[in-house]
Symmetry: none
Subunit: 232 residues, 4 copies
DNA sequence: TATGAATGAGTTTTCATTCAT
DNA sequence: AATGAATGAAAACTCATTCAT
């Protein structure tokens, strides 16, 4: 039953691990692999069903191991959920830092940053859903993360720099709070993915679908650029 | 229920009901009142806990009646949830129609419309949460509503008219899709309320709090106005 | 009344009643009609669902009146069930007495009696089901009937006479107990109707269906006749 | 609570299980035993109360385990009922196959077969009741059994052979359908057990009681034998 | 006589978690 | 390290019956 059923790429990634103590290239007992496998499946399940909606049994069943291991490694359903959250938030912040915005001129850098944010949300629906779910729970789980706040402060710094350079260059208005700008950008990138179902039901159109992707990217980049432009 | 009135206030509203045939101002057999009472409490509970997180017992307990009546009138937990959704969506669409946008000049009307949308989301957090929750469930409950789509088509019409008048007057650009514009407006009004917890955890600031309300309203109105402005 | 099932016709039947106090030929308040209507529907429901399986709500809903009336006239679900039983048992015994067996020669009379029993079971599936259901409940409801035993003693008398005449004529064996004979006849007439579902599922053939009706009637009559025949 | 002990034959069977790895002769973790125990008690309850009348709580209480295990192994009340049906139908078909009818001469074999059928019904009242109950439900549960039809086809074959041999020997009539003959035999064996309560209430005599057992067995065997006899 | 609303006790089912092997 | 079996508490839902009008 728990035969494997890879479910995700991450688990395959580890099959390249050293083959000592393995059978046919796959380790018999590989704690790291087991944990990652559980985490992958859990990400999918929590993202699909919510924290309360997800079922421990359902997660365990899709896993290569058993329910007991899930408790062994993560302590509880909530512990597992926290681990999932932590991982998923870590990913986007890590990627944001890889952008080389400092090398571009301010307006270009802004467009790049918005474009990246758009692309990330558009592509990582699990992340969008988990953030949504966490808000349903008043962010009480992510608040327990030790690295969460620290990680977020780096984005603020990035945006602050961006604005400062634009203002200095005379292109950007000077009265915009960086966190507000970030909020604006995120709002537009997030909503079209997070609320695609009700929006689709209301207007017969998936706002996050392929047909509107390019148009929306342009619209969002354009609106942010216009918003920041110094008028005069 | 038909009244349209924000979940939380609704219960207060009924205390003004005619007192004839009542005991201490409250009728013993009053189905409408019973239904409204259940619906009010349910709106709060579902909004606070989600569909799966809410407890039928908890709803019933806070009600003036018993769990049995909840099933009597709404059939099931899901039936009750659907009724809550219907009501809450009906409310905003009803109010939108009361705006007298046709009498204002296009730019002013756009600002009014965005301001209304901002105010509604800012004030009706239950609505925002329920929409969020419904998206977690893939909108499968609201899709069963017979009036949902029809009601939404009226907003589209409103925005279309608005854009058309602005374009005709030479103020608005002509290349914007009304539903995309609506999406942009909603995104910014929705996100700061819906995601206030994770945002607060990340940046130490409640984006939907009193301190940023006016600033955000202006920011959103301004960005939408700039976005629509025909550039010369 | 039992001849019909259609609930709806039964109620119409009484529309020929005196028109005083009526609207458009139908009495507004007609206790007898109301009772009969309830009894008809209840017969169908109990017969279809069993005593525990039947739902008071379901019965009331199909009725021309309300649940309250059901309790008003029959006291309880069990009271209604008893009334249904009583009526349905009364019918067959009444018809049995109308047979003019004494005028036929014994063998012919026996065949006539078996044929009648066969026909009655074949046609009155509600009766068969209710007897089945009552046996599930250990006959505790029918045992409370005051007229039940008395009514059954008349059949025994009928069969006793039949046998006695046949024995006297030298045609029938003398060692058969009348109640045993009755049991044999009933068994074969009852089973093919009562157990038609499992039989159908097991052998792909409805034993009470039109295709086997004549064949079974002959088989049963023949086997009883052969069984009673004096040998040698 | 979990003290109570089986009370039926099936449970006795397990007391013969190997005692290794047990505490006081009873293993702590023994899924087969647990399932069998649940099935035994459920057989009694469903047979006594019917599908709708039986209470999951009541079954669980008489079990050595908890209600939860009942759902663990059988999924639902209906799932458990289906398992009970399967088992009980399997038993009779298995025993039928053990009869060595081919070695007897046709008439003797027929008498043996009828006698066996009589004895089985007379002794296994649970089986008779469960079949009755299943017919109340239109056989919808047994129809889902995958092995049910296959198992029944073996009886048909048995009877076909029996008849064929008798016809070939010139003893039996040739115009009898095997399934009809089976129906006749079953009818008489079944009815006196299934309908013993109403019959007892009507005629003051339990038709399945000890006093009539031998007499009825002879009567049924005799009537079937006479029915099949080629007349000459 | 008639009715829709109301109810409490019960009934089935689910779920996160732990135990014995 | 790993596993299938086991569990208690809680959750959703049902039902016969009665009440107020």
């Amino acid at each position: 039953m728990k035969k494997s059923k890879p479910a995700s790429e991450a688990s395959k990634a580890t099959s390249a691990a050293p083959a000592s103590n393995t059978v046919e290239g796959r380790r018999k007992y590989d704690p790291e692999e087991t944990k990652r496998n559980i985490l992958d499946i859990a990400t999918q399940e929590f993202s699909a069903m919510g924290l309360t909606g997800a079922r421990v049994d359902a997660i365990a069943e899709r896993t290569n191991t058993t329910k007991r291991m899930l408790y062994y490694y993560f302590g509880s359903k909530e512990g597992l959920y926290e681990a999932v959250l932590e991982q998923v938030y870590g990913d986007i912040r890590a990627l944001e830092q890889e952008l080389q915005l400092a090398e571009m001129d301010p307006e270009e850098a802004l467009r790049e940053f918005v474009g990246f944010t758009f692309g990330y949300h558009d592509k990582h629906r699990d992340f969008v859903r988990l953030v949504t779910i966490e808000n349903i729970h008043g962010a009480k789980y992510i608040e327990q993360s030790k690295t969460f706040k620290a990680r977020n402060s780096t984005v603020v710094k990035t945006i602050e720099d961006l604005i400062a350079r634009g203002v200095a260059a005379g292109h950007f208005r000077a009265d915009v709070d960086p966190i507000d700008l970030h909020l604006m950008i995120n709002s537009m990138c997030f909503y079209r993915v997070a609320n695609r179902y009700t929006w689709g039901a209301a207007f017969g159109r998936d706002p996050s679908g392929a047909r509107s992707r390019t148009r929306h990217r342009e619209m969002i980049i354009d609106s942010v650029a216009r918003f920041m432009r110094r008028e005069g």
